[in-house]
Amino acid sequence: MANEIADRTPVAAARGASHYPGTRVVAFVLLVAFALVAPLVLTEYWIKAIAIPTIIFGLSAFGLNLVTGYAGLISMGQAAFMALGAFTAVIAYGRFGVPVPLAIMLGGAVAALMGVLVGTPSLRIKGLYLMVATLASQFIIIWALQRVPWTGSGSFATLNTPPVRIAGWDVSTPTDKYYLVLAVVALMTFFGYNLVRSRVGRAWMALREHDVAASVMGVSMLQYKLMAFLVSSFYAGVAGALVVFGYTGAASVQEYELDVSIKILGMIIVGGLGSVLGSYLGAAFIMLLPILLAVLMQKAAAALGGSPAAVDTLANAEHVVFGALVLYFLIKEPKGLAELWHRLAAWVDKQWYPINGAQLGGIK
C-alpha cells in the first residue's frame, strides 16, 4: 500500500531512461488538481451532498483502517467516536467560543481519550472479544449522548452550530465548506500516510501479523495497541467535527448509530484493508452506491414499464448490495479496490512503456 507507491513502482527504476513519471504519479497529480478546482467544475449539489461527505467519511474510514487494517484490531465503534467529536466540537465552538480549528482538534482529542479507554481491554483480549468490547462502547456512547444534559437529550439529540467563522473567513457556502474539509483532511492524510510508513506503522503491522515476534523485537503491545486506538479515534473525532462545521451544520446523535459503524467497516473492506488510498476509494464507492442503485433501478423500472422503486425498497436493496460487496471483496479481492487500482496502473505503465513492463515481467 503506502510504500508500494514509492517503492514498488517499476517505473521508478526506469526513470533514467524515460520521461514518463508513472501512472500513479500522473493520477496523483490529476487528483490533487481536480480536488483543488472541484467547486468550479462540479454542481453545488455534487459538492454539498457527495464530495464533502465522501471526504469526511473517507477520513473516518482511514482512521478505522489504522486500527483494523494496520494494527489488526477490530473496532465496531467508529461512528460513536465520530459522534463524540461532533458534539465536543459544536459545544466548544457554539457554547464556549473556542476557535473552529481548536474545536476540531478538541473533538478529535475527546474521541481519542475515549478510544484509549475502549482499547484498554485489547491488552488482555483478542479478536472477537474485542469486537464485543467495541460494540458495547458503540451502544454505551450513543446511549450516554442521548442522556447527558448538554447535548439536548433524547433519541434525536441535536445541536446546531452557529455560523462558522475562522478568523475573517465566513465558512458559509458549500465551496467554503468544501475547502475547509479538504484542507483538514489533506493535512490528516499526509500525517497518517507518513505514520503508516514509519516505525509506528511497522510496529502496528508487526503486532497484527505476529504479536509475540513483534514484542521480541521490542514492540510494546500495550503502548502500540493503545496508540492505534488513540490515533484511530482521533481521526474519527475530527471527522465528526467536520460533519458539524463542513457538512450538516449540526451534531445529531441518530446519525452515528451502529449501522454507520458497519458502513465505515464496509468502506475499508471494499477499499482495501491496510491501505491509505483504499480508505478513500472505499468511502467514495459506498457513498456513491445508493445513487448508483437509484439510477439503475429507475432505468430498470423504465425499461420494464413498472413504477419507480419506493424509497424503502431502495434502502433495502442498498443493504443487500452492500453485504454482497463486502463478501465479494473479502473472498475474491481481499486487498480491495486499492489493489485493483494498483493492477490497473501497472497495466497502463506497461502499455505506455513496454520495455519497463518487460523488466517487470522478468522480476515477477
Binding site: L128, Y129, A136, L265, E318, L330
Partner: protein
Amino acid sequence: MGELMFGIELLITGMLIGLMYSMVALGFVLIYKASSVFNFAQGAMTLFAALTVVGLIPHVGFVWSLLITAVVMCVVAVGAERIVFRPLMGSSQLTIFMGTVGFASILEGAAQMIWGTKPRGLKLGIPAEPLKLGEVFVSKPDLISAAIAGLLVIAIILFFKRTKIGLGLRAIADDPAAAQVVGIPLHRVWAVAWALAGMVAIASGVLWGSRIGVHFAMSLIALKALPVLIIGGIDSVAGVIVAGLIVGAAEALGEGYIGTHIGGGVQDVIAYVVALLFLMFKPSGLFGQAAIQRL
C-alpha cells in the same frame, strides 16, 4: 413490604426474559463451537425468521408458517455455509467475522425487501392477564416464553452431549484438523450447526416478536446475546444460561431502580456495561477457561 415485592417481581420478570437471552446466545454458541466465529448475522437471521413467520401466517396459518420457515432457514443456513463460509475457510478470524457482517446486511435487506419494513405484531394467543403467585404478579406470556426457551436450551444441551453430530461439533471445536483425520464430516457438521442456529433464530424471532413486535430493532435484541456470551464464557453452555439470567435480572432491576432516575432506557445498555466490566477484569467470563491470553 411493597418495595420488596416490587423487587421480587422485577427479579422474576428479568430472569424469565434472561432465559430468552440465553436461548438467543446459544445460537451464537452453536456457530462458535463449529467454526470459532462470532456470527454477527445471528441477529439478522432472527429478523429474517420472524418476518417470514409473520408474513406467512395470514396465508397458511401459524403451524404451517413455522414449518415453511424452518425449511427456508435451513436453505439460508446451508447457503450461508456454502457461499460465504466455505470460501473464507482458512482466512483469519477477523476476516470471517467481517464476512458475517456482510451476510447480516444481505439478510436484513432481503427480509425487508420481501416482507416490507412496516413493524408487525405477532400474537401467540396467550392470555395476557398476569398470574398471581402469593403477593407477586408474573406475566403469563413471559412465563410461557421462558418455558419454551428453557426447553429449547435443554434440547440444545442434549444435542451437544448425546447426538453424534453434537459430539462431532465439540470435537471440531477442540481440534478441527484432528476431527477431520478421525473422519468427522466437517462440512456436514457445519451445515447442521448453521441449520440449528437457524432454528434457534425462528424460536427467538417468534418469542421475542410476540413480546416487542417484529421489526428492524429485533437484530439488536439478538446482539444483546453477545454480552451474555462474554459474561458466561463462550465455551460454557452452563455459563451462558447463568449469564442470561444475570443479564435479564440486571436489566429489569436496573430499569426499575436506576432507570426511573435518569429517564429510562437502562435496559438498553446495562448488559453491555456488565460485559465491558467483565472484559476488563475477568475476560474469560464466569465459567470459561482462561485461555484467551496470548500463545
